[in-house]
């Protein structure tokens, strides 16, 4: 087979969202990869500059479907810190509960997708069935399965009634037992091991150098977790620990994500059990004082960063959203070289890409005349030149 360009194009069954890989393949081996993002860019940063703090939060939530609470919390906590207002403890706990429930449902969704990508549809059906328990809990608390609209500058918009807390607590044991089953399924199930072990391996140094974040980095042994390094919400006084693994391949990332689901479940149970009393909202001023802040948040896919600058009016001067998937793309491009064509969906799915996070301006599919993309060999060439000490 001569060198062939296979375009795993913007619309492809394996990709939930539009990203374009032009993969140069020799037989089944990948020789070169060109990556083209931003088919789903909606100009959220430009739009955010025209909305006041009440109306900008629903926009922040719609940066991404699966991690909507992450974006609105990162933004809200940044603005609250700029306004120097301290939101009540109960609101912090409610935000933590919703954040961890979102992490659980995002990771379970990812596990199903990873199983589907290797054709193991049974696990796909089972994980998405168990994920319904998390979705029902969140729907009871916030009124919607995806966009929770819980956040508001100065606190939380809906309180958790005692009934909601008890029904949520009742669901956790069954869910915990199911997740326990998935943990040992991932470790023992031969059909997954054969496709995950040793695929898309990144060593610790490489992961650091490419700037990977979140479970992808933790699977290579880097124990970066913003919830512990730069504690926010109620993570400082909740007993939990950061999970890391040393395999660095898709297998390691699967294990890290499932352990994280177990950790999140513990956090949710702890927060539900000792939910402090008190108000859930503090009246926030209309304008934010002049200033800037780097609000960091641990989204399900990794470290999410909102750089917010305010200019004393009621609108934000600039919000620069750097999402975890954008940081992970370099590592995907690197670890795809001379892997098998069949492994592309597995490796791409392993960083759990969230494309609507990565790009933010309006664009529909334009068949690309010129492939103006970051091609891999430039990365390698510069990389090689760097290794020879030439800085």
């Amino acid at each position: 087979m001569p060198e062939v360009v296979v375009s795993i194009g913007p619309h492809h069954p394996a990709l939930k969202e539009p990203v374009n890989f032009k993969v140069v393949v020799d037989g089944e081996k990948i020789v070169r990869l060109e990556l083209d993002l931003s088919y789903n860019h909606r100009g959220i940063e430009k739009a955010a500059e025209q909305r006041d703090f009440i109306r900008v939060l629903p926009l922040m939530e719609r940066v991404c479907g699966i991690c909507s609470h992450s974006h609105s919390t990162a933004f809200a906590k940044g603005i609250e810190e700029l306004m120097q207002i301290e939101i009540p403890q109960r609101a912090q706990y409610i935000r933590t509960i919703i954040a961890e429930l979102e992490r659980m449902h995002s990771h379970l969704l990812w596990l199903g997708v990873a199983a589907h990508v290797i054709g193991f549809n049974t696990l796909f059906m089972w994980t998405w069935r168990d994920r319904e328990a998390v979705q029902d809990t969140v729907e009871e608390m916030s009124g919607n399965r995806v966009h929770y609209a819980m956040n508001e500058v100065g606190g939380v918009r809906r309180d958790l009634t005692a009934a909601q807390v008890t029904t949520a607590l009742e669901r956790l044991p069954n869910l915990e037992e199911r997740i326990k089953k998935y943990v040992d399924m991932v470790n023992t199930e031969e059909t997954m091991l054969i496709r995950f072990r040793g695929v898309g391996k990144i060593s610790r140094e490489e992961a650091l150098r490419y700037g990977t974040v979140g479970p992808t980095a933790r699977a290579s042994g880097i124990d970066y977790d913003i919830r512990r390094d730069d504690p926010y919400l109620a993570y400082a006084d909740v007993p939990w620990n950061v999970v890391t693994d040393t395999n660095g391949d898709v297998y390691g990332r699967t294990r890290v994500r499932i352990w994280e689901v177990q950790e999140s479940l513990k956090i949710v149970r702890y927060c539900l059990e000792n939910l402090p009393e008190g108000p859930i909202h503090v009246p926030a001023p209309k304008n934010a004082p002049k200033g800037e802040i780097l609000s960091r948040y641990e989204a399900p896919r990794g470290e999410l960063v909102h750089f917010i600058r305010t200019n004393g009016t009621d609108k934000v001067e600039r919000v620069d959203i750097r999402t975890p998937t954008l940081a992970n793309w370099t590592s995907v491009a690197m670890c795809l070289v001379n892997q098998n064509l069949a492994d592309i969906p597995v490796i791409v799915a392993a960083i759990d890409p969230c494309l609507s996070c990565t790009s933010r301006i309006t664009l529909l599919d334009i068949h690309t005349k010129k492939t103006g993309v970051m091609s891999l060999d430039e990365l390698i060439r510069r990389n090689r030149s760097r290794d020879h000490g030439q800085v």
Partner: protein, 159 residues
């Protein structure tokens, strides 16, 4: 030798780069001139162990374009290096040579703000679509969507 001293000591040491202030418990902000950025980042990497680039953010404060490099390290401190660039001809040397993850961030800022990063090997489009008019940078404050220009995608009547 990465010095694990307290934030206050670190801020003191970083005075040499430019105006340094400690914003919060673990946040330090440095404003320097464009040509000293490389030197500042490299010393921070070597001396203070800031080995990871969190992100590069860009802000258009009407008179100048500002670039802020955020770095962090195993000691969990975050340093932000701010650089002001002239509005008409914003250019700065790339840092993707020794911070590989900066490649994507620089291309994104180039697309949206028009800041040229000299030396970045692959400066083409990543965020905007191919037939976006090449001289217009949407995230600048003075940019208004031209009523007649077509920016790709579906034709939307701009109210």
């Amino acid at each position: 030798m990465t010095e694990m001293s307290s934030p206050e000591v670190m801020t003191g040491k970083m005075k040499e780069f430019g105006i340094t202030e400690q914003v919060r418990k673990n946040r330090i902000r440095i404003t320097t001139a464009p040509d000293r950025v490389h030197y500042a980042i490299k010393t921070l990497q070597a001396m203070f162990g800031f080995d990871r680039l969190i992100t590069i953010s860009a802000v258009d404060n009407r008179t100048t374009l500002e670039l802020i490099y955020h770095l962090t390290g195993p000691h969990r401190m975050v340093v932000s290096i701010a650089v002001e660039l002239p509005r008409d001809l914003p250019a700065i040397a790339t840092v993707s040579g020794f911070l590989l993850s900066a490649a994507i961030y620089e291309r994104q800022i180039h697309d949206l703000f028009g800041i040229v990063f000299t030396g970045n090997p692959n400066m083409n489009r990543i965020m905007l679509n191919e037939d976006w008019p090449s001289d217009e940078y949407p995230l600048r404050k003075d940019w208004k969507p031209g009523p007649d220009t077509f920016y790709g995608g579906i034709k939307v009547k701009r109210s």
